[in-house]
Structure formats: C-alpha cells, structure tokens
C-alpha cells in the first residue's frame, strides 16, 4: 500500500497505476538535467547573491559581510546606477510595447487571413531571426550610422548636406533595434493563441449582432491574452539585461544597466558591486513582471464580474 500512497499526488498525465513505483524510473531520467540546472544555475545564483554582500578591497574579494553594495544606490554617487536601472526598464518597456503592437496584426494576419500556406509564413518569419544576433544589431548601425545607408543615401540624392546625427547612438536607436531583433519572439506566441481560438465563437458573436470591432474586443483579444502576455514577458525580461544592443547602437546616452554590470566585472573590477547590480536588476525585473501580472489579473477578475 505504501507505493499506492507514494503515487497519490497530482499529475496531469493519465498513467495506469502499477504496483511498482514507476515514477522512480522517470526521476532517474530527469535527474541529469536537474543536476545541470541546479549546478549551473541555482548554485551560481545563490553564489552571486552571497558575493553581493561581500567587500572588494583592492584586487581581492573579502568575505566580510556588508550592505555597502546596496547602500551605494541610495547615495549621490549611486545616482548613475539608479538612473541606469530605471532607464533600462523604460527602454525595454518601450521596445516591448513596440514589438507587441507591431507583432499583433502580423500574428492576426497569419492566423485568420492565411488559409493554406501558414507554414511558409512561419518560416518566412523565423529565417531572419535565426541569423547572427550580433550582425542583426550591427545591420542597424549600418542603416542609421553617420555614414550609414540612410545618411549616405540621402546625401547621394542631394536631400541633405551633412549626415543626420540624431539617428544613431541614443535610446531611440536602441529601442528600434531591439524591436527588430525580438520580433519573432512576439509574433509566434500571439499567433499560437489566435490560432487556438475556436472559430465558432466568432461566428456566434457575428450571428448575435456584434460588429467586427466589438467582436474583436469581446472575443478575439481576450482569448489571445495568454499568447500576448507570453510575448510581452519573452521580450521584456531578456532585453532589460541586454548588452550587445546598447553597446553597438546606444552610444553614451543609450547605455543600459548591462553595460554597467560588465564594467564592474571588467575594468572597474568590483565584482561585489557588479553582483549587487545583477541582483537589483533581477529584483527590478521580477517586481515589474509581478506588477504587470497583478494588473492583468485584476482586470480579468473585473471582466469576470461583468
């Protein structure tokens, strides 16, 4: 009976209950992967949290416990980091909104307008996304740069005499570049959500007299929310800590918190402060995501009340 008891836990798969503790076999199958995830992720994350409370003296890290690395953020010298964190969140948020707003109609088009060649559209969408991330970012430097395609093109046509300098090396160029680089991450989840919608709901809404727009806002959009939320998180979370894009197209005004973390581990050689900044970045992302999910959850509850 003890094996019966051991099997008595919630599971999603309908598996025939056998007398042997079958889950143990499954556990051995997944154990190597779990070990890697624990060894390569959980242990390092705990490590970096610990280091963020240590002290840097000269070239050595000392295991002297301190809150200084966090305290510096609330001092006048820490203003740079405060600004960078807020700016990184803001730039990622702008890029995410741009990505999702552009991706949604595309996903809608693929889900509802394309009948047969869906696979071709998916491949068309993913091919540019599989080319080197570095070179995709660099391409925007080629487009927006001082002697880039836009400037040299406009000059060749005779529309401008001097290159337009406002195109590159600012937060806007970072946002545009991010919006391009992460497009596929947004289109695909939204597309999957839209594709799953039972078409008879839409027919029912039309039959009951909903206009196209009303039908979209009352049925299509709410049902596509899981994919849209996934898209927002898939783009927002990694872009906050991006390093390549701000470095290549951001200039001095477009740097993000990632650049500052790299500096602490490199030139500034202050690993504890870098560790603290990493922890704060993770915390900021987590808080932003939780706030977002809470806001969505409350709205959904309200919708359910109606």
């Amino acid at each position: 009976m003890s094996t019966q008891a051991a099997l008595n836990f919630p599971a999603t798969d309908a598996v025939a209950i056998t007398a042997r503790p079958e889950w143990l076999d499954g556990f051995w199958l997944i154990a190597p992967t779990l070990l890697i995830v624990i060894g390569m992720m959980v242990v390092p994350l705990v490590g970096i949290i610990v280091v963020s409370f240590w002290t840097q003296t000269g070239f050595n890290i000392e295991a002297t416990w301190t809150l200084d690395n966090y305290r510096v953020l609330f001092t006048p010298e820490g203003a740079l980091y405060r600004i960078l964190i807020v700016k990184s969140l803001w730039m990622s948020l702008t890029a995410t909104i741009a990505v999702v707003l552009l991706a949604y109609p595309m996903a809608y088009f693929m889900a509802f307008r394309i009948e047969r060649a869906k696979l071709i559209w998916i491949i068309l969408l993913t091919v540019p996304f599989w080319t080197s991330y570095l070179l995709r970012i660099f391409a925007w430097k080629v487009i927006l740069g001082f002697n880039g395609v836009i400037n040299s093109g406009l000059k060749a046509v005779g529309l401008i005499d001097k290159p337009l300098e406002f195109l590159l090396y600012n937060p806007t160029s970072v946002t545009i570049t991010l919006a391009h680089a992460w497009a596929a991450y947004a289109v695909l989840p939204i597309y999957v959500s839209l594709e799953k919608i039972d078409r008879s709901y839409l027919e029912a809404a039309t039959d009951l007299g909903d206009s196209k727009w009303k039908r979209f806002w009352r049925i299509t959009f709410p049902l596509s929310l899981p994919g849209t939320i996934a898209a927002i998180l898939l783009v927002f979370i990694p872009t906050v800590g991006d390093y390549i894009t701000p470095t290549l197209v951001g200039g001095t005004s477009g740097i993000m918190i990632g650049n500052s973390i790299v500096t602490q581990f490199g030139k500034a050689s202050n690993a504890p402060l870098g560790a603290a900044l990493s922890c704060i970045m993770m915390l900021a992302i987590t808080l932003a995501v939780c706030a977002f999910l809470a806001a969505i959850g409350r709205k959904r509850l309200k919708a359910a009340d109606l």
């Binding site: 076999d25 779990l34 993913t126 990632g258």
Partner: protein, 270 residues
Amino acid sequence: METIRKHLNLLSLFAVLYLAFLYVPVLLLPLFSFNDNIYVTLPFKGFTLKWYANLLANSSLQSALWASVKVGIGVAILSTFLGLLAARAMTRYRLPFRRSIYALIMLPLVIPYMVIGVSTLVILRRGLDMDLSLWTVGASHVLITVPLSMLVLMARMEGFDRSLEEASRDLGDTAWRSFRRVTLPLVMPGIVSSLLLCFITSFDEYLLAFFLAGSDSTLPIFIFSSLRFPSKIPDVLALGSLILMVSIVLVVFAEWLRRRGVSGSDSSVI
C-alpha cells in the same frame, strides 16, 4: 462588403511591410559583402568577391569558427540527449513535483543571460578557481539549450499515440527495444530539430561566451571584437552572409521536418 475588402487589404499590406521591416536590415549585410568598398556606405562602388577570398586567409577567424562549431556540436548532442530523457520523464511518468521540476528546468529561459553569465563566472573563478575555456562556455550553453530541447521533444512525444508503445511491449519487446524500435523513430524529427535548434543557439550566443571563454574565442566573440575595427568589417559581412545562407538551409529543413506529421497542430511552434 467594400469595407471588409479594404480591411483585408490593409492587413495584407501591413504583413508585407512587416516582413520588409524584418528582412531589409538582414539582407543589407550580404548586399554590402559584395561591395568593393572598405566602408559600409552608399553608393555601391562595384562588385567584388575579395572579402570572401579574405576569409580563406584569416586564421584567427577560422579558429574562432572552428571553436564555435565544436562547442555547438557538443552542446547540441548533450542537450538533445538530456532533453530526450527529460522529455520522456515528463510525458510518460507521474513525477512528484512535476510542475516545480518543469518550472526549474525552464527557468534559464527567463533569466537574463547577463545574470547567468556573471553568476557562473563568479562561481567558477572565485568559488572553484577553475580556468575558463570553451568547456565552461559549453557548460553554460547546455544550461540554456536543455529547456529548448525539452520543449521541442515534449511537443513531439505528446503528439503520437502512446498505444503504439504499449502494443510493442505487449508483443514482447523489452522496454529498451520498444523505445528503440517504436519511440525513437517517431521522435526522430523532434531530435533532429532539437539538435539544430541547440546548435544554432550555442553557435550564435555571445554574452555567456564573453564572460566564460577566458582567452579562448568563439565566433560571436570574434565578430564582436571585429566590429570595432572598420577595416575588418567587410570580412565579417562576408562571413555573416555565408552563415546566413547555411542557416536558411538548416532552418527550413528543420522546420519542415518538425512540422511534418505533427498532425497539423501549431501548438509546438515555440
């Protein structure tokens, strides 16, 4: 009727423009890789293949390329093997704490690489005093590709009829034999696309390699450092264009293989 047609046209127009937005920057690179000008700027000066010829002579580029290929192949095989075992455990067994295990394995997908990179660096250097090399890069790449592999293979394993395996067992096959003769052939397209996905992810990954490669150099590290020197950029564009062509062939092949026979369900897209 007129408004519906207009609506459809607007949306189609948007889709075409959107694809153009995605493709134009990417296609500029191969275009400039044939331009006979050391600076990447308009107007085009003339057609040349010399940047491609340069690739053959650039030994540091070749060693970086070779390093990335080695790491990519190793990571692809290991991650797909682990992903196969894990996906089987997730789809065929009642695991205790199934949801927590799943969430834990997926976690690397939602942690910024920056954080994974610096924390692994701290543990390896300060904690274990290990030397950084392509091995440490590979280990971190396994961490970020295992969840991808598991996702792809779980989608594939959930897609076929479990009774096929049971039939094979009932007909007297051992567990291993039925896995090899029934499960493996059915899962094979998933395995191939997982191998490609893991390889491409590792091959293209810069940030973790930047932190963990030590004095070794992978291709993205080489490309990133080259981008600072205008004289090296045309070579990089030629290389990038070659990689683009190879990726297109590989991706189209992988997508075709993965979708063939997944019963038309698109839920496995991601």
